[in-house]
């Protein structure tokens, strides 16, 4: 593996008597000791309300908080730290754009494009925008090979909101191409980077996108911190949506004027300690190097794909080409319900996720109720995949032998896309 398991205190623990194999990093990653210690240090050495105090303690806190903003900006190649807004999570970051930028911009007849593989957090906010503004919501279709049909855009298209990498299929979306198409018709592009930013080098200047949202907790940082990056002039034009301390310029009884970006969007006391500890997570990832992270993900996920395919009992979803696949593998095991699989694997000390992964429309498209998902990160290695596969013996011991699976990357084989096919049922 790329990072020492020993750096991650939780990975040394046992689960139901077995050493833990954590394969749910797409949900949230484990935290290295350095990040946990940064959190502790924040409270033990520098705790104070940021941006408010004239005393040393508060200045330290403010400086560390704002340095993290600069670090985040550098991490995603943003030219200006004032383009970084701290939110609670990626979901809030996307909702900020939906509520502030989109509600003020879109109108009846406009088009909003998402894709069929979006996480609910990058779909439901746009459904709301469409409902309120009367704009039309279109969906880039999933192709049988697990990639997106980039479709067509028109002058009515105002925003393309798309994930950089699917949290179910692993599909890496060609954002730069989408940006080219969108900008050609005058539309903006929001990238849901919740899975992309943790997995590969991301540079907003090179990508050319207009908004990027991601979460600290999926990239070794603490919970409670999300990021919205937006081009400065877009942020400048956006109205705040949460009002209160810290975001104002002047307040009178009857009305107020608001402060500068990005603070205008950060009302109330900041998540100081969490933000600072997130900075430590970025430092940790920076030491590894994001190109190395990407290579590692490719290798381990590729190994997992290969083993699952060779095994023959699994039904797999998503592209087979590791070049366009992030460190996520979704599958089903015969007719056994994914939640039953996950519970039994859990009994073997293996943490995987089962369910719709907040992608209900995609589940319908795949024709399944749910999938099992194994996702890897810097602390996982091939040995974790081996443990995963061998644990299926226990699943068979309880539920009986499973018929052969199939590769469901090719949706066209025998199945009309969009029809419900119950996972593994009688194939």
């Amino acid at each position: 593996m790329l990072a020492a398991k020993a750096d991650f205190p939780l990975l040394g623990t046992t689960m139901r008597g077995r050493s833990l194999v954590y394969l749910d990093s797409a949900a949230t990653t484990q935290k290295p000791r350095a990040v946990i210690e940064a959190l502790t240090r924040a409270y033990e050495c520098g705790n104070a309300n940021v941006h408010r105090g004239a005393y040393e303690l508060s200045e330290r806190a403010t400086a560390l908080y704002e340095e993290t903003r600069e670090r985040v900006a550098r991490f995603v190649g943003a030219g200006d730290p004032r383009e970084i807004v701290f939110t609670r999570n990626a979901t809030e970051a996307i909702n900020l754009v939906a509520r502030s930028w989109a509600l003020a911009t879109l109108k009846q007849g406009d088009e909003l494009i998402v894709s069929e593989i979006e996480h609910h957090s990058n779909l439901v906010p746009w459904q709301e925008v469409a409902r309120i503004t009367g704009a039309r919501l279109s969906h880039l279709e999933l192709r049988p090979d697990g990639t997106l049909d980039l479709g067509a855009m028109t002058s009515r298209t105002k925003l393309v909101a798309v994930t950089g990498a699917s949290n179910v299929l692993g599909t890496i979306v060609p954002v730069r191409r989408l940006v080219g198409m969108a900008h050609a018709v005058g539309a903006l592009v929001l990238v849901d980077g919740a899975q992309m930013v943790p997995q590969m080098p991301v540079n907003v200047t090179e990508l050319g996108c207009d908004f990027l949202a991601f979460s600290s907790h999926k990239m070794l940082g603490p919970t409670g911190v999300g990021v919205l990056w937006a081009r400065r002039e877009l942020l400048e034009a956006m109205e705040p949506i949460v009002f209160g301390g810290g975001m104002i310029r002047e307040v009178w009884r009857g009305g107020s004027s608001f402060g500068e970006v990005p603070w205008r969007f950060e009302a109330g006391t900041s998540s100081y300690a969490e933000v600072v500890a997130f900075g430590e997570a970025l430092r940790y990832l920076g030491t590894i190097g994001m190109a190395a992270v990407r290579e590692h993900e490719k290798t381990v996920a590729g190994y997992a794909l290969g083993r699952l395919l060779d095994d023959g009992r699994f039904e797999l979803y998503g592209p087979l080409d590791p070049e366009i696949r992030a460190g996520v593998v979704s599958f089903n095991f015969g007719a056994i319900h994914p939640h039953d699989v996950a519970t039994i694997l859990d009994g073997e000390g293996i943490a995987v996720r089962a369910g719709h992964h907040c992608c209900m429309p995609l589940m319908r498209k795949l024709g399944v109720a749910a999938t099992v998902r194994a996702s890897v990160y810097v602390y996982n290695g091939q040995e974790d995949i081996d443990r995963l596969l061998s644990a299926f013996g226990q699943v068979e011991r309880i539920f009986g032998k499973q018929r052969r699976g199939a590769c469901r990357t090719d949706l066209s084989s025998g199945l009309a896309p969009g029809s419900i096919e119950v996972a593994g049922q009688g194939r």
Binding site: M15, R16, G17, A335, I336, H337, P338, H339, D340, T343, I344, D346, G347, A354, G355, H356, M360, P361, M363, R364, K365, A369, A370, Q394, I398, F399, G418, S419, I420, V422, A423, Q425
Partner: protein, 179 residues
């Protein structure tokens, strides 16, 4: 810090049996009452239909998709309430809920629920409790439906309420997913 419940205590033989060979699967048409429910945690769905006669649940069926726990629980539920009065069924629902919340030892189960003891292991797996409860809370809704219909229109119901899927474009109806 936490006790570590054993998976074997969850997947008891009786559960696996009900899962493989569920009782009372399907859909009554016509029916006197129906209910549809979703477990929001996993998106699994259940459709319940029942016929009512002389104060008792004359017949009951379930279909939908779910994990072994939810399908087994649905199967045992139908067996437990079929032929019982509506009042007794309501008592059994409450009793089962108390078993799941840990408020009742399985030794105190009434005779109709004896088999349900097999689901006691679910208590150690909190997220799966919703699976075990799904059929039972759907029965509550169906009994409410029954009461409403009996007040308004005492006749039989021609068509069971269709499960809602506003996505006309995809034309998807919740399928039946037995093993």
């Amino acid at each position: 810090m936490f006790p570590e419940p054993a998976v074997d205590g969850l997947y008891r033989e009786l559960i696996l049996h009900h899962y493989r060979c569920p009782c009372n699967r399907g859909k009554l048409d016509p029916a006197d009452a129906a209910a549809h429910a979703v477990n929001p945690l996993c998106g699994d769905e259940i459709d319940l239909t029942l016929r009512h006669h002389g104060g008792t649940i004359a017949d009951i069926r379930t279909q939908g998709r779910g994990c072994s726990i939810s399908l087994a629980s649905a199967s045992m539920m139908t067996e437990a309430v079929k032929g019982r009065t509506v009042e007794r069924a309501k008592e059994l629902i409450e009793t089962f809920k108390r078993l799941m919340s840990g408020g009742l030892p399985s030794s105190a189960l009434p005779v109709e629920l004896e088999e349900l003891e097999a689901l006691e292991g679910v208590r150690s797996f909190p997220v799966r409790i919703k699976c075990a409860l799904l059929a039972w809370t759907t029965l509550v809704e169906a009994l409410d439906d029954l009461q409403r219909r009996r007040c308004r229109e005492p006749g039989r119901i021609a068509a069971v309420r269709a499960a809602g899927d506003p996505d006309g474009a995809e034309g998807v109806a919740p399928g039946d997913q037995g093993p």
